[in-house]
Structures are given as C-alpha cells and as structure tokens.
C-alpha cells in the first residue's frame, strides 16, 4: 500500500537520509574498531598522542607565561604611572601645606576636587572623619601594596553610582590629620581582571584543543596501523593469501604496507615451495619404501612362513618398518614446522585428550608396574590441531612409561592460568640432566642410557614441533626424581 507523501515529509526524509549518508561517509573514513582490547584508551597510549600532549602542554605553558609576563609588565607600568602622579601631587600639596598651612591646603584640595579628572583627595581628622575632599569617607577594606593602598570608592554619575577602584597614599599632617591622595585606577583594575580570567581560559582551551587534535591524529594513525595489524593476524592464523591494504596517500604507512606485502609474497612463495618439496619428498621416499616392503612380503609369502629364510626376511621387514616410522615422524615434524596444517585448527578440550591417551596407555603402565595417575582439572580448551596434540601427549606418556622403572609413577596433569594452559607429564625415572635438556628435543638425539631401547629418537622432537606449531613452549624440568615435561599453550592468540 503506497501513501502519498507531502512535500515536507519527502524533504524531511531526504534530509534525514542525506544526513545519514553524510555520517556514514564520514565515519567510514574512521574505520577503527573499538571492540579490540583497550578500546578507547588505545588512543591515549599511542606515541602520536604522547608527542602531541607534551607539545601542547609546553605550548600552553609558554603561551600562558607570555601572556602573564605581558600582563605583569603592563600592570607595573600603569601602576608606576599613577604612583608617580600621586607622588607628584603629594609633593606639591605638602609644599603648599608648609607655606599656606591647613587652611590653604584645604582650599587647594577643594579646588582640585572640583577639577574633575582622576585625582581623589581626602583630608581627614584624627578620627578619620572627612574634612574636605571628593571622597565620601575614609576607605574601608584597604589593600596594601608596597607603601600604597588600594581601595574601592563610589562615584556618582548622574543618577547612578559606580563602584570603582583607586590607588593612593596617605600623608600625615599636624594634629593627627591625614591627607589621602589617590588616583582612579579602575581601567587598570578592569584590565587586571580581564587578564586573570583570560589566562586560565587560555590555558584550558589550548590544552583542550590540543588534546582533541592529538586524539584525532592518533585515532587516524591507529586506524591505519590497526588495519595492518588485523591483516597480519589473519595471515598468522593461516591465511597466507591476505595482503595489507594500501591507501593512495603514498605516505610512510603505505611504504610500510607495500614492504610488508612484498615480504608476504616471498613467504607465500617459499611456503608453497616447502609444501611441494614435502609432498615430493614424501612421494619419492615412500614409493621405494613401499616397493621394498612389498618385495620382502612377497618373498616371505613365497618361501612359506616357516622356513628359516623367512625369519631373516621378517627381520628385514621389521627394520623397514622402523625406517618407515622414522620417516613418518620426520615428515610430521617438518609439516608441523612448516605450518601447512594450520587450516584445520579446532577447539580442543585438553582434559578429554588426556583422558583418552591415559586410557590407552593405562594398561601398559600397569603391566610394567608403573602407577599411572591422571589429574584432570576442569576443561582447559585451546585452539589447535587435535591429532598433533594427541600425538605429542602420547609421545610424552609413552616415553614416561618406557623410562620409569617398576614401582614408579607417571602423572599427567593440567592447569590453567590467565595467560597459559599447561599440560604436563611427570615421571619418576632417571630424568634428563639439565645440560642435555636442550639437546634432547633435536632430531635423532638419544641419551646414552637409552641407546638400546626401541625408539626413533624423534619422539621429543615431534613434541617440540607440535609445541612450536601451537605457539606453545615445551619445558623440561627435574621432577625430583625424574622428568617433568610441560607444554605451555598460550590462550587463543590471533585476535587483535
């Protein structure tokens, strides 16, 4: 159902949508996400903002200083001027007083008072009662200022009375009389007031404008950096095809972005190369291994499983299997390091994996007379590759059981701190001497004691590679006695 809009409605709606469009255009220029950690506070933590802040504060202080200096000098000049007039008047009047006496002085004062102008005079007696002069009474609320006094007085202008400021000096006369000679300094007083209100406002306004300007500048810079950071995080998370956006400004950020993109191009090419090499190495090594095994198996079949030669060939097949196991482990390590499997990360519940691995290895431990304890704690979850993590844990548990003598204990535990999720396997075997701990994670390293037990020497290498794959750390400690191997996973990284 359509309705007929009146003209005003149409124009209002158009205006509204025009306004909305304008707002959208403006705000799209500022594409900063404030949902990232730190939110608005990030603006003030930038270098740009800090520089602007320092500059603004310095500028404000110096501007204020300058204004204050000007003010102070001006005031002093004005005061000096009026003080000189007052002194001259007093000098003149006292001379007259000495010549003409009190009466003559009073006459003089009267005539000068009539004069108009800025001069203010008051002759008062010992009780401060006014005798002659153009001031109504002795000033109350007097402020002293270097021998001079300042006070307020009232001046009648027609029907209105005005409260004005004056500055003057007193001169004692005979008989307790006092002469007050002053100048109206109301204009100076107003200017003084102007300055004292201006200065704080100047300071405040400069700071405010500076802060706003600094904020805008750092916002802009953050937005540019943010887009670079966001893209980088996506790339780290596995999407190597992304590139950092380049604006048309041709400024330093664009140069940075262009260089980053060139680096990424190179990395992507290298990764592709690694992937191709891994695949072809896999294929080229596995094919002959496959054929080798096939031949041996065929020969065993044809000889008949009971003959002595079949025994020799079976031993050969076992060696081949050992070769294959080593090769597979090496390949897995290479893959984990190349990060080619990064696409299949999923949330993993470590306690569930630990339970499964524990359940698989439990009977084996029991057979050996080794006590196997699993202490699950909550459901610590990380983003990772489930089978790699399972394999790593299995390797650690396998090693632990293998090297722990009967009567010992293997303990699998996990814990969660605000920053990390830890998975640990501790045994009461011979442990690894501190000087060997960094060596054992290298490929093919086997310590003297275990040279003859079954194993490829790659178990810990794989665990280390899996840890690297997950940005985690493999820590080998003394379990006193025994070895305590901990994989420390950071909480899901890869957010802004």
């Amino acid at each position: 159902m359509t309705t007929l809009d009146t003209r005003s409605e149409i124009s209002a709606r158009d205006k509204g949508s025009a306004l909305a469009g304008f707002w959208r255009a403006v705000s799209s220029r500022f594409r900063l996400r404030f949902d990232s950690p730190g939110g608005w506070l990030r603006i003030v933590r930038t270098q740009a903002f800090r520089i602007v802040l320092v500059y603004v504060v310095l500028f404000a202080l110096s501007a204020t200083g300058l204004i204050y200096f000007t003010y102070w000098n001006t005031m002093r000049a004005l005061d000096t001027q009026s003080d000189q007039i007052i002194e001259a008047e007093i000098a003149g009047l006292s001379e007259q007083y000495q010549q003409l006496g009190m009466r003559g002085l009073a006459q003089l004062i009267i005539s000068r008072s009539m004069h108009g102008g800025q001069g203010l005079y008051l002759l008062a007696d010992a009780t401060r009662r006014p005798v002659v002069g153009n001031l109504d009474g002795w000033p109350q609320n007097v402020a002293h200022s270097g021998g001079f006094i300042e006070f307020d007085y009232e001046r009648r202008m027609g029907n209105e009375t005005e409260r004005r400021r004056a500055r003057g000096r007193t001169f004692p006369l005979m008989g307790g009389f006092t002469l007050l000679v002053a100048q109206d300094v109301h204009e100076r007083y107003l200017m003084e007031r102007l300055f004292t209100t201006t200065i704080p406002w100047t300071l405040g306004l400069t700071l405010l404008l500076g802060l706003i300007g600094g904020g805008l500048m750092s916002y802009n810079m953050l937005a540019r950096l943010d887009s670079i950071n966001r893209t980088s995080n996506e790339i780290i998370a596995g999407d190597l095809s992304r590139r950092v956006p380049v604006s048309r400004a041709h400024d330093e950020f664009d140069r940075l972005a262009v260089n980053l993109n060139r680096m990424l191009d190179r990395i992507e090419r290298l990764m592709k190369g690694v992937r191709e090499v891994t695949d072809s190495v896999a294929h080229d090594l596995r094919t002959p291994l496959n054929r080798l095994r096939n031949r041996l198996e065929a020969a065993i079949r044809h000889l008949g499983a009971q003959s002595g030669q079949a025994g020799e060939l079976e031993a050969a097949v076992q060696e081949t299997d050992q070769l294959i196991a080593t090769f597979n482990a090496l390949l897995l390590i290479a893959e984990a390091d190349a990060g080619t499997a990064r696409g299949t990360m999923a949330p993993i519940d470590l306690s569930s994996i630990a339970r499964d691995v524990g359940e698989l290895y439990g009977p084996l431990a029991e057979e050996k007379g080794v006590l196997f304890i699993l202490t699950p704690s909550g459901h610590p979850t990380i983003m990772g590759h489930p089978s790699l993590v399972a394999q790593a844990l299995a390797n650690l548990v396998d090693n632990a059981i293998k090297y722990t003598p009967s009567g010992g204990t293997v303990r699998v535990g996990m814990s969660e701190t605000p920053q990390f999720v830890e998975l640990s396997v501790a045994d009461t075997g011979p442990g690894i001497p501190p000087e060997d701990r960094s060596r054992v994670v290298e490929r093919f390293v086997r310590l003297e004691e275990s040279r003859n037990s079954p194993g490829t020497g790659l178990g810990l290498s794989l665990v280390a590679a899996v840890a690297r794959f997950h940005d985690a750390e493999l820590v080998l400690d003394d379990n006193r006695p025994g070895l305590r191997a901990t994989i420390r996973f950071p909480h899901s990284v890869t957010r802004d």
Partner: protein
C-alpha cells in the same frame, strides 16, 4: 571377490595385483584415473583400491565422480602424500578408508575384508555371537557359556569390533582407529596390552580359545582354533 586396483606405479601395482590374486580375489587394474573411472562405472566391483596421485584424473576426483554417478563401491585410498590432513580429505571426497604407503599387505587385506563386509549390512544387530561367546549390544553385557564376563566400556568396544569382524584379521592400526579413534602411530604396542587383558577375560578358564594372534598381522576372533 572382484577388486579394482588403480595405481600408476607399475611395480607397486604388480605386487598388489599378484598379492590379491594369490589371496583368491579377481582383480582388474588400471594405471590412470580416466581408465580407472571408466572401469569403476562400467563393471561391478566389491571394492576399489585407488591411489591418490594418478595421471589424467586424480584419485579424489575419480571417487567424487563415482559418487556423483551414484556408484557406491567401497573405496580404499592408497597414498604416499603427507599424512596429517589428507585422510580427512580422502574420506570427505567419498572414500571409505585410507592407507598410507608404505603399508603392510596384511593390513591392506584386513581392511579390504572389513570394507567388503560393510557393503552388505545385515539388519542392525543387537547381539553378536562367536562360538559360545555372546555379546548383547543393548544391555552391553558379555557372557560365555553360562558365565557372565565383566568388561570395562573400552574392553567391550574392543570385543565388539573384533566380533563384528569375526573370522577376519584385524590389525592394530584398525583397532586404534576404530576403537580409540586415534590416527597416530603409538611407538610401543599399547594395543597388545589391551588385547591380552581382553583375552584373559574371555579365554582364560574356558576350553576353546577364541581370540587368536595372527603373526605379523594382528588379531582375529573365531570359533575354530
């Protein structure tokens, strides 16, 4: 059984085909994806063994095409490709099982057996029986003769898998994948320990051993020794 082998490495193909024929199967072979697909779609097979890397049409695409044409022949992928995520890709494309080269021939045979049996599913079973050993899948209990056997949940699953493949060789890798759902290589034979415990429970004290070790291959459960 009729088996189709699609493998471009001629030597590997020869051993595979010969081995299968010696095991009593009827085997057709192809050396590239196009021919393999044509054969798969034009003749009935009980199972197809397809290599991932093939000239002309790659293994994944062969199977994808087969499935698109409504062909439901069970497919076992053979692959020399780096393992970690390739298995998932293979299964997603429509494959039923995945074996990496190099493989043990007995492993291959065991898995083929399992695939072929899967092809003809009987009505959903609630009971399994081998000799005088009965497994009730609903109550999750096992009895041999008159004696009730106490089994842990995992032991039950292990026994169930063996009994579903009664008379067939079941390899350690198959057990690891199906009963524990793990796709990695345990360095020591953890599976053996689980199986020997199970054997102690179901065979010890009874006349006829049902759980047999097949040397060099794996295990088998069957009534006759």
């Amino acid at each position: 059984m009729r088996i189709l082998v699609v493998e471009d490495d001629l030597e590997a193909q020869r051993y595979l085909v010969n081995g299968l024929k010696e095991a009593g199967h009827v085997v057709d072979d192809a050396a590239d994806g196009d021919i393999g697909l044509t054969l798969a779609l034009s003749r009935p097979y009980d199972v197809a063994i397809i290599d991932r890397m093939l000239p002309k049409l790659d293994g994944l695409n062969v199977v994808a095409e087969m499935r698109e044409h409504g062909n439901a022949t069970p497919v076992l992928f053979l692959s020399a490709l780096s393992e970690v995520d390739e298995r998932v890709k293979g299964l997603k494309a429509g494959g039923d099982d995945y074996l990496t080269k190099p493989y043990a021939f007995v492993e291959l045979l065991a898995r083929l057996d399992a695939l072929m049996r899967r092809r003809s599913p009987a009505a959903v079973k609630t009971k399994l029986q081998v000799g005088d050993l009965d497994l009730d899948l609903l109550t999750r209990t096992a009895t041999r003769g008159e004696v009730a056997i106490d089994l842990q949940p995992r032991e039950f699953r292990l026994l169930e898998y063996l009994m579903r493949h009664a008379g067939q060789v079941v390899t350690r890798t198959m057990l690891l994948e199906s009963v524990w759902e793990y796709h990695f290589d345990p360095q020591t034979n953890v599976i053996d320990v689980h199986v020997s415990r199970l054997r102690a429970k179901i065979d010890k004290g009874f006349d006829t051993p049902l759980l047999h070790t097949v040397r060099g291959a794996g295990y088998m459960i069957r009534a006759r020794p």
